[in-house]
């Protein structure tokens, strides 16, 4: 390998070996890991996964040759210092025109064969077309390489996952402590955010909604919290690039018997679906069991769009076992996978209710990462 092996962290060395094998297998001379700068919680970020850093700006990439010579391309010259501090890659360059910089790099590194693009699915059309042009069509989609290699967070990520889970607990705890009658939704969301950001959360896929009948979880609006409102929260902080999600429901004041009755259906669905999280089972079984529970209670129609479809999903930026947990998902659950299971459900009597947790698959079953009990909460004003 062209980089100084002794300075490359062991997990990266393992990645490089796997990538080298993949390039050989797929007949590729190099891989271009690409990120647009638009971040998605539901995807592995190719540049972060490869380099260990999320660059700012519109285009970032890592070109890795089949001899494992790595060069990083970033958009902003003033971001170089931070990038250099965080990445194992020595050669970091600023690219004003990304496609031209890739072309230059490919020539410099004498890459003669095909270049596989990892992150193709998110690459802007104009950039892809430019790369096709400057590389004389020697461009191939290589996303499957990443989706195969980045299915597990890895043992070394457990402390970060655990920390993110603690922050998710703190975020929900803020709802129970801070929600007040008359408070706008966005102010409550600000408190949730503060609880996690002040402890180091890097980002948050967070939605907090208060309503007497929600149709979906969405970012907060300006509605003021009313007595009896049902607060639904999807809280997803990130630590070191790992997201952990928690979904819960709280009611302002005492919960009605009807709400309690309906929420037990979610609890039943959660319990039964967690029982499906076993090594060797298929991910689709989690979804099917959830849907069976709701169907048994007369809500079959509400298990399909426009009400519901996805019953959980992987969480980026650094690993993703599968993108969504739906009935048809044939992926086999393996030890070490990490994903969220959420029997969130719209019910016509109560509106949208939420319950869900991130689990780490262990040999004997799922380990819930958060500590917040799986129950309906009440907030006394």
């Amino acid at each position: 390998m062209a980089n100084n092996q002794s300075q490359i962290p062991a997990p990266v060395q393992a990645k490089l070996r796997s990538l080298q094998e993949a390039m050989k297998r797929d007949g590729l001379s190099a891989l271009l890991f690409y990120s647009t700068g638009q971040l998605s919680m539901l995807e592995v970020n190719p540049v972060l996964w490869m380099s260990g850093v999320l660059p700012m700006g519109p285009n970032a990439g890592v070109l890795l040759t089949d001899s494992c010579d790595a060069t990083m391309l970033i958009s902003l010259s003033w971001d170089q210092g931070r990038v250099r501090r965080q990445t194992w890659i020595h050669d970091v360059r600023v690219a004003e025109r990304f496609a031209d910089a890739v072309q230059e790099l490919v020539q410099q590194k004498s890459v003669k064969g095909k270049v596989g693009i990892v992150g193709w699915a998110f690459m802007p059309a104009a950039l892809y077309q430019s790369l096709q042009r400057v590389l004389d069509g020697r461009v191939e989609v290589a996303d499957p390489i990443l989706s195969t290699l980045a299915r597990f967070p890895g043992r070394e990520s457990l402390p970060a996952l655990q920390r993110a889970a603690e922050l998710a607990d703190s975020g929900f705890s803020a709802i129970l402590q801070k929600a007040k009658i008359g408070m706008p939704e966005y102010e409550l969301a600000a408190e949730v955010e503060y609880a996690m950001r002040s402890q180091g959360a890097e980002d948050n896929f967070g939605m907090v909604t208060a309503s007497d009948h929600s149709h979906c979880a969405h970012p907060p609006a300006d509605r003021r919290i009313q007595p009896g409102d049902i607060i639904i929260a999807e809280i997803t902080p990130a630590i070191e690039g790992h997201f952990v999600q928690l979904c819960r429901t709280a009611v302002m004041g005492p919960a009605s018997p009807l709400l309690r009755e309906k929420f037990t259906i979610l609890e039943e669905a959660m319990e039964k679906s967690l029982a499906q999280v076993r090594v060797g089972k298929k991910a689709g079984a989690i979804s099917r069991v959830m849907n069976e529970v709701f169907t048994a209670h007369g809500y079959e129609k509400y298990c399909r769009p426009p009400y519901m479809r996805v019953r959980g999903h992987g969480l980026g930026f650094l690993s993703l076992p599968f993108s969504e947990i739906v009935d048809e998902n044939e992926a086999v659950i393996e030890e070490g996978m990490c994903f969220v299971v959420h029997p969130n459900q719209y019910l016509p009597e109560t509106g949208y209710l939420m319950l869900g947790d991130t689990v780490l698959v262990e040999a004997n079953g799922p380990r819930r990462l958060t500590r917040t009990p799986l129950e309906l909460f009440t907030v006394e004003d």
Partner: protein, 389 residues
């Protein structure tokens, strides 16, 4: 200025009709359609994603929360908005836009196809705004197939030209965003303490902004104690006494962004820091003085700066840019083709010195361009802000 993007635009998400009315959008639609007619375009597609949605918000007021959306504007009749999202989100998405027809879809080609079919429209010439530049190749392939019989032309520059001068409603929103941001940044001065972690004080500033209804918030910091690293997101490093803290904050409110940048020092600054900030202040004055209605050579005075490091740093962070539906939008000052300064433009002016050979100081402020000069949109703070510790 660029910042690190977030996975979800998760602040207060509403359309405040009192601040920006449907009439404002109808007026914009009229301008857009006149341009379409002049260019013989019978359908305009305007794309935006959660990272950059200025053009899209200009025509729709819609802000994608975590994926993207496509405005479909025919020459006649009502426009449509195609949003990539689960269908259950549709009622919420409708609250963010004046466009009645909001189609929630998995793939844009499906939504566009349905919208065209409903209008019995087979466009011959289609204008594209931010479509190929931002939409991913997978989705683009679907659209290209759908539009394969049409001639395509890029109209991004045309729409950018419509956004250069801000309307009274836009100016009012920009003032409000700046007001919120000033209050948030005042938190830094009030709360920052020696030994505090960067993200702890960032969280206080962010909470202040989010409590006042911003849609999104950004925070970058650079420190004189690490001159090799420029502005970056807050980390766990503790704040030290006597160092310069360059803090840039940005937020959007009702889709309109603002950016403020100041230099703080906890305790007494060294002579070196004072010198560095005085240099930044004098450069900022020069920058402000160079902005005149009709001028286009904003960066000319850069040539007089003797230090190549200072010059390079100023260029790297940018001397300033338009600000509005995007944090950085045309005109990009000092860059080739920036065009002439016009009354009604709103500009962020910026002097950022961060590096081993150019010192540590940041001043960025928003201004409204008026015929007789620049009107500050935030209280001018060009001094080094000393924080008692």
């Amino acid at each position: 200025m660029e910042t690190l993007h977030t996975v979800l635009n998760r602040g207060c998400s509403i359309w405040d009709r009192e601040r920006v009315s449907e009439d404002e959008f109808r007026g914009r639609l009229g301008h857009v359609r006149r341009g379409m007619k002049e260019r013989d375009v019978d359908l305009l597609l305007v794309y935006g994603d959660s990272r950059r949605f200025g053009h899209l918000a200009f025509v729709s007021h819609f802000m994608p929360k975590n994926r993207g959306a496509l405005a479909v504007i025919p020459r006649q009749g009502e426009p449509a908005l195609v949003v990539q999202e689960p269908s259950r989100n549709n009622p919420f998405s409708k609250t963010l836009t004046w466009i009645d027809e909001v189609r929630s879809v998995g793939q844009f080609a499906q939504g566009l196809g349905d919208a065209l079919k409903a209008r019995e429209l087979k466009p011959k010439r289609v204008g594209l705004v931010s479509v190929q530049e931002q939409l991913n190749i997978r989705e683009w392939n679907g659209l290209a197939k759908l539009l394969d019989s049409a001639e395509l032309c890029d109209l991004s520059d045309f729409l950018a030209s419509l956004r250069l001068v801000k309307s009274p409603a836009e100016q009012s929103l920009l003032k409000e965003t700046n007001r919120i941001l000033e209050q948030a940044l005042a938190r830094f001065e009030k709360e920052a303490r020696v030994g505090q972690k960067e993200y702890e004080v960032m969280a206080l500033v962010e909470r202040e902004a989010r409590r006042q209804g911003v849609e999104d918030f950004r925070f970058l910091i650079a420190r004189s104690s690490e001159p090799e690293v420029g502005l970056r997101p807050a980390a766990s490093f503790p704040i030290r006494k006597g160092e310069a803290l360059l803090v840039a904050v940005a937020a959007s409110y009702q889709r309109y962004w603002a950016e403020l940048g100041r230099t703080f020092c906890l305790g007494s600054p060294s002579q070196e820091l004072v010198r560095s900030h005085n240099l930044a202040k004098s450069l900022f004055r020069k920058l402000v003085d160079s902005i005149k209605v009709g001028s286009s050579d904003i960066g000319k005075w850069l040539l007089e700066i003797p230090s190549p490091a200072v010059k390079m740093c100023l260029e790297s962070y940018g001397l300033g840019n338009g600000v509005g539906l995007e944090l950085d939008e045309a005109p990009f000052l000092g860059r080739e083709g920036a065009g002439k300064i016009q009354p009604g433009m709103v500009l962020t002016l910026r002097v950022c010195l961060a590096g081993k050979e150019c010192g540590s100081a940041l001043i960025s402020q928003p201004f409204l361009v008026q015929r007789d000069g620049l009107q500050p949109l935030a209280t001018p703070v060009e001094e080094l802000v000393l924080v008692e510790s």
